[in-house]
Assembly symmetry: C2
Homo-oligomer: 244 residues x 2
């Protein structure tokens, strides 16, 4: 599956490196049952008008505890991969806010949270996408599905990875035919105002820091404590977020 | 209402300053309809065994882009007030992660997010509380209601403030008699696994940074853009999070 995906991406004009990064993301999404973020996205990439195969993200500002990146036309997947590799190569001491402007599409945010958590870093990551979620009472779409992913390392080798989109379904589900566009509303039924509030709050947060051209905001820090093994013990076999 | 609340708090042994801070929080909660976090909490404070009236929070570590506070036995409300005042007096340049250990109870997190956003800072704030939320399929409680509050300033003077607890009801609702303990489950009905994942993810994040004795984690940053007026224009009168 991985080799086939890489071949298809190279045929679309991506470099060997970029095709490997993208294929790894899409295949992982398939394996975790997130098919809307999986191989179907390879066809979808062909339909994106502004994708430059040769674009590279750039670290445009750095301060202690802060980095600002610009996707510069690269696919958001590639920007987040480079952002994450940069955090692992130069871990924060003890914490860093990373703002990634012009970073879209970003795929399964839990994938990047897992990469960081497996490398020993606590993280929270959100990203904006086209406005698709209306207020539960109706009206125009006011927020993207704007997932929030959280990764926490564990001394037992199994990080906790929560990854929640604020939509009842994802746009990927709509793309893959698993859901209709009408189902793309804030999740929660009679409590959908809560998911709507999170989606709008994350939208405004990212827009205020990264700008309105879709971006990502990442908080990354060194853990001071190791709570996950205790959480797993309390859970006593209940499936925790991110477990297969 | 405010004066009466202050008198009652001073009668409980709080200083004039602390009584003013606490009364302002409880009365604001009442006025925003969050009665479970309102004046009922004054009676509840009397039942907390470890509340030291004279305890003061302390800034115990500071690095560029990072602060660590310790509640040192003070009420979480008082610690968050001092944390927020400290951010406003010495704003991050451009961003800061603030970890507040031993910080409980923290009340309506949107209150603190609003304080920061009205002072011109973007923020996201979460805090842990006693484990009350079980997995949607049952089992022991594995996470607190762990709200996430987001505040974004606006040039129109009306910041966006989203404040979402992961519970279907709050513990305050249970305390005030507005809900039963059985209703204290992750919100979302058939999608409750999403609210559960957020609650557990935030629990592990705070526990990894602040420790397991209940704490708060705040990201605070200077905004680079001003997205809220445009969001309000698109909303065309639809109520946005935090609006009255």
């Amino acid at each position: 599956m991985l080799d086939e995906a890489r071949r298809r991406l190279e045929a679309l004009g991506f470099s060997e490196h970029d095709a490997r990064v993208l294929a790894a993301h899409f295949v992982d999404a398939e394996r975790r049952g997130k098919r809307g973020h999986g191989l179907t996205r390879i066809d979808w990439l062909e339909t994106l008008p502004a994708v430059r195969r040769d674009a590279r993200p750039e670290l445009v500002a750095t301060e202690p505890g802060y980095q600002r990146w610009d996707g510069r036309g690269a696919l958001g997947y590639l920007t987040l991969q480079e952002v994450c590799e940069s955090q692992l190569a130069d871990p924060p001491s003890p914490a860093r806010l990373v703002v990634a402007a012009r970073t879209f599409p970003t795929g399964v945010l839990g994938y990047w949270a897992r990469l960081l958590a497996e490398g020993g870093l606590v993280c929270a990551l959100t990203a904006t996408s086209p406005l698709r979620l209306p207020h539960p009472s109706g009206g125009p779409p006011l927020a993207g599905t704007n997932p929030l992913a959280i990764g926490v390392p564990s001394s037992d080798g199994r990080p906790l990875v929560a990854d929640v989109s604020m939509g009842r379904v994802t746009y990927g589900d709509v793309l893959s035919g698993a859901a209709t566009a009408e189902e793309l509303v804030p999740f929660g039924g009679e409590y959908a105002h809560k998911a709507f509030a999170l989606a709008v709050g994350l939208q405004a947060l990212v827009d205020a820091l990264a700008g309105e051209a879709h971006g990502a905001v990442l908080v990354v820090a060194r853990p001071q404590f190791d709570p996950v093994p205790g959480l797993r013990a309390r859970a006593a076999g209940t499936r925790l977020p991110g477990d297969r």
